[in-house]
């Protein structure tokens, strides 16, 4: 007997009897003998005590550092109640809400999630989530080519996080979508270059703000250029900054996407995170993923249901624009509870603190001879400096003191060697920043 398998010998005998076979082996007689001839070479079964001990050892092999790095993953505060609520089995163990009568819980939080994402981005409709910010951006690219049909070229800003660009490249290749880079002007997507590159074959234009250097991009005048060619405007934006910054809708975007990890989701070594995607109603039927809508039940009671399902792979099969089925539903609940708990003022306050602290650190580091300013551009919680010392030496030193140092942009792009990008959230105290400044000043 085993704790996850309830069958007693008597049960097994009675069941075999009902089936009309003599042994369990008879249930596998359809598998050719040749295929059964192998030896499993996997670890032996662990008891719970052994398991915990083993994982404690594994956990201890990782060093918990205080991050001054972001680069797509941000160390924001997570209210304690979130984990208690998302671990309720009704949320945790259910599957996709195909039987809406017993899935109103999942459907309601998806509806609330969609409502919050549309509030943040200013867009009209959000889906129920995507795998991560990078794949959400790739799906936005497919939306552009699905809506424009004949146009197969996508313009991508060079100031985007290179990992997102890499994902776009991998997704574009099998469909022969052509990616054309828009160069930067001192750390900002170059509008002049956009005007030069955009043409009748352009299906969409994808940009990111704050960008890979932490710079807040200003898209005044972009949508006019893009609309003139009937192309779609896609803005990838860290949604936490939307407490303050001009929204994708205000800039005239057709699609807003991004990584919503910054809404309190733990770092967890890169996942699970959650991508978001929102668009205008006119593009809604080309949007991938699940969408929840309000309806009534037969007694007239308000209820929620997955809607516009005819877009999806299980109905459209080879004609679907996307193959996405499951997304990151539980992480959508995470974000929904985060935004409910922090609310209107909490999100603003946390982000304002991140903004203040980042600017404080920026000012203080520029007083040190080890650092120089590179861009004269506004930033939010992440900023880039020129570093006059060896970045490996610096980061090793910081690590010894328990800090995760800034991102070395040289790892992303050879031409950016010597540039480093710090991230500061509301979680970084003045003591931590002053300690960082002292260590760096002594190098």
């Amino acid at each position: 007997m085993f704790k996850y398998l309830p069958h007693t010998h008597a049960d097994i005998e009675a069941m075999l009897d009902k089936i009309g076979v003599d042994s369990i082996d008879d249930l596998f007689s359809d598998i050719p003998a040749k295929l059964k001839d192998f030896e499993l070479d996997v670890p032996h079964a662990h008891s719970e005590l052994e398991l915990i001990k083993h994982f404690k050892q594994l956990a201890n092999m990782n060093k918990q550092l205080v991050p001054f790095m972001g680069a797509g993953a941000y160390d924001h505060y997570t209210p304690s109640i979130i984990n208690h609520l998302i671990n309720r089995q009704e949320f945790l163990t259910a599957y996709t809400p195909y039987q809406p009568e017993v899935s109103q819980g999942t459907l309601q939080y998806i509806f609330e999630y969609q409502s919050m994402i549309t509030q943040l981005t200013g867009m009209e409709v959000s889906n129920a989530s995507m795998y991560d910010g990078a794949t959400a951006t790739a799906e936005a690219m497919f939306m552009c080519t699905a809506i424009r049909r004949k146009q197969r070229e996508i313009l991508v800003s060079e100031t985007m996080n290179p990992n997102i660009i890499n994902v776009l490249k991998a997704y574009a290749e099998p469909q022969d979508i052509k990616l054309v880079m828009i160069p930067q002007d001192e750390g900002h997507t170059d509008l002049k270059a956009l005007k030069e590159k955009i043409n009748d074959n352009t299906a969409g234009v994808i940009v990111q703000t704050p960008n890979v250097y932490g710079i807040i991009e200003d898209y005044e005048g972009y949508s006019e250029v893009i609309q003139e060619k009937k192309a779609l405007f896609v803005i990838n934006q860290d949604p936490s900054t939307l407490s303050h910054l001009k929204t994708p809708a205000e800039y005239g975007a057709d699609i807003a996407v991004g990584e919503a990890q910054s809404l309190g989701v733990p770092l967890s070594y890169g996942g699970p995170y959650i991508g978001y995607m929102a668009t205008l109603k006119k593009h809604m039927r080309k949007m991938p993923g699940r969408i929840c809508g309000v309806t009534k039940d037969q007694d007239g009671k308000r209820a929620y249901v997955l809607t516009l399902q005819a877009r999806e792979q299980h109905i459209r099969r080879e004609k679907a624009n996307s193959n996405i089925c499951s997304n990151q539903s539980l992480m959508a609940l995470f974000v929904t509870i985060y935004l409910s708990t922090m609310g209107k003022s909490g999100l603003y306050e946390a982000q304002q603190t991140s903004f203040n602290h980042a600017h404080y650190l920026y000012d203080m580091l520029l007083k040190l001879p080890q650092f120089e300013a590179v861009f004269d551009r506004p930033f939010f919680k992440e900023f880039t400096l020129k570093c006059n010392i060896d970045t490996d030496v610096m980061n090793n030193k910081l690590q010894k003191h328990g800090f995760l140092g800034p991102l070395d942009q040289g790892l992303f792009n050879e031409k950016d060697k010597g540039l480093v990008t710090f991230a500061v959230t509301e979680k970084r105290s003045k003591e931590e920043m002053d300690s960082l400044i002292r260590i760096l000043g002594a190098l």
């Binding site: 369990i24 039987q99 509030q119 991998a170 099998p174 733990p266 935004l339 306050e349």
Partner: protein
């Protein structure tokens, strides 16, 4: 109705649910022209408001711990609690993905060891754990097929063969990966029709996508012949791991001749489905395809685990970081708990349960495919076809008995499909109860079909008007308040 409110309807101006430390740092000002014009309308609620709200929202869901959940093809097995505790350990949850590898050896070891175990269980060479879900894994697998043929300069291979009984994701993934999908007909028992396969295979075949056992739970007995036909034609075989549970430790896709496969960790390896994610869809390949796996790759050099980004042959990067590590940790814990000793038991008990349900109900429900099934099987509505009741009605009536219905109307091979997968964790007593209820429902159907047609009665809401939702989409709280104004 009070508890049915949305969080927005509970909002009161000025209320707060959070606390943040006071900062000694002065306030910096953001340039006015970069500021948004209006404030996002997020809820203003207290911490307790949030807790009570989402607790009540949760009551409107049926989870695995609520009751029986025989949803075919989804493998709704128990999600062990200990795996939740482990994944939440601070030594995992607080680690930044760009920390130097010397400071993340524990996580990298989990990644590496998990892929090694998955390789052994499936008979393939190496896995990437980067894909986020089953469908994502499929897409990555097909990208690998594409790259393989491209590298061989075999550019005319543009078609992926998919059985007509396959899940909709298979053809959809083929399209997204830039292929054309071609259907191969199934035999009456859902297995691939070899004669038809021979007809559709040619030098434009890039590969075939199969599940084994297939979507109706039958083992593809001719798999060795199928692999021969495809390989001799120069194509590759892709295994959709949705149905891996019943062959754990009993047979391996690699030995059947499959070149590439994905595994749904949230099905076979018990990680929580989460209401539809986060899942994880590791992709495994044979040795000759290893170089195409997505970037980055986790590798072991001596005693050190490393992350490699630049590999010319790779299909490239398909995730921002390394996949859903939190999900991988849970699956690794499950693999260790079961170990070599228990993995084959999982397969055996899941197959025993499925056959037992099938044999116990086939006198009242129509069994279109006779014979031993694997982990799941299908009924095609009630045996007595003179009764005017549809599978949908049976499914809705089951809800009144605190049971989640089987998968309905999939696969499309039969008109009234009901696909039942009673996983290995379910005891004979639970299953006997399900059998009893299914018999009760069949009796009700004969006595008075309207009992079923008006079901469910005891659920948080009753049958919904789906057409209303699709014709006039109300997809945000703002839409909802606007619609009230219109009325």
């Amino acid at each position: 109705m009070y508890y049915g409110h949305t969080i927005f309807e509970k909002s009161q101006e000025g209320r707060r649910g959070y606390s943040l430390p006071k900062s000694e740092i002065k306030e910096y000002k953001l340039d006015e022209k970069l500021k948004r014009q209006s404030c996002p309308k997020l809820p203003e609620v207290s911490e307790f408001d949030v807790v009570r709200h989402y607790t009540n929202v949760s009551f409107k869901n049926h989870g695995i711990e609520t009751g029986f959940y025989p949803l075919g093809s989804c493998t709704m097995k128990y999600n062990p609690k200990i795996n939740q505790d482990i994944a939440a350990m601070e030594g995992f949850s607080t680690i930044h993905p760009y920390q130097p590898v010397e400071t993340t050896q524990g996580l990298l070891k989990i990644y590496y060891e998990t892929q090694k175990i998955l390789s052994n269980i499936s008979g393939l060479d190496t896995y990437s754990l980067n894909p986020y879900a089953g469908a994502h894994g499929e897409l990555i697998g097909l990208m690998i097929i594409k790259k393989f043929h491209k590298d061989n300069n075999d550019l005319k291979r543009t078609k992926i063969i998919v059985p007509d009984s396959a899940h909709g994701t298979n053809p959809a993934s083929a399209t997204v990966a830039g292929f054309e999908s071609v259907e191969v007909k199934s035999n009456k028992d859902g297995t691939v029709n070899i004669e038809d396969l021979k007809k559709v295979v040619d030098d434009t075949t890039a590969g075939i996508m199969l599940t084994n056992p297939n979507t109706v739970g039958m083992f593809e007995k001719d798999i060795l012949e199928i692999q021969k036909i495809i390989h001799e034609a120069g194509g590759l075989l892709y295994y959709d791991g949705a149905n891996l549970n019943p062959i754990l430790g009993m047979a391996r896709p690699g030995d059947m001749g499959f070149d590439i496969m994905h595994i749904n960790l949230h099905k076979t390896f018990s990680t929580p489905h989460g209401g539809g994610g986060p899942g994880s869809g590791p992709v495994g390949v044979t040795k000759r395809l290893k170089k195409y796996l997505p970037s980055p790759v986790v590798r072991k050099a001596g005693d050190l685990y490393l992350i490699d980004y630049k590999d010319e042959d790779s299909i490239g990067q398909i995730s921002h970081f390394y996949g859903n590590m939190g999900v991988v940790i849970r699956a690794y814990a499950y693999l260790l708990t079961n170990g070599k000793e228990r993995l084959p038991e999982i397969a055996k008990m899941s197959v025993l349960n499925a056959n037992y349900v099938k044999e116990s109900l086939k006198d009242v429900y129509k069994l279109p495919i006779e014979g031993i099934c694997k982990h799941e099987f299908v009924f095609d509505g009630l045996k007595d076809e003179s009764i005017d009741v549809r599978t949908l009605d049976i499914a809705k009536r089951l809800l009144d008995f605190d049971m989640h219905p089987p998968t309905v109307y999939f696969p499309l091979m039969f008109k009234e499909t009901m696909m039942i997968e009673p996983v290995e964790n379910e005891s004979k007593q639970t299953i006997d109860h399900f059998i009893k209820i299914m018999r009760t429902i069949a009796k009700e159907a004969k006595k008075d079909p309207s009992i079923l047609k008006n079901a469910p009665y005891n659920t948080p809401v009753r049958r919904l008007d789906e057409a209303l939702a699709a014709r006039k989409p109300i997809v945000s709280f703002k839409d909802y308040t606007d619609s009230l104004k219109e009325d």
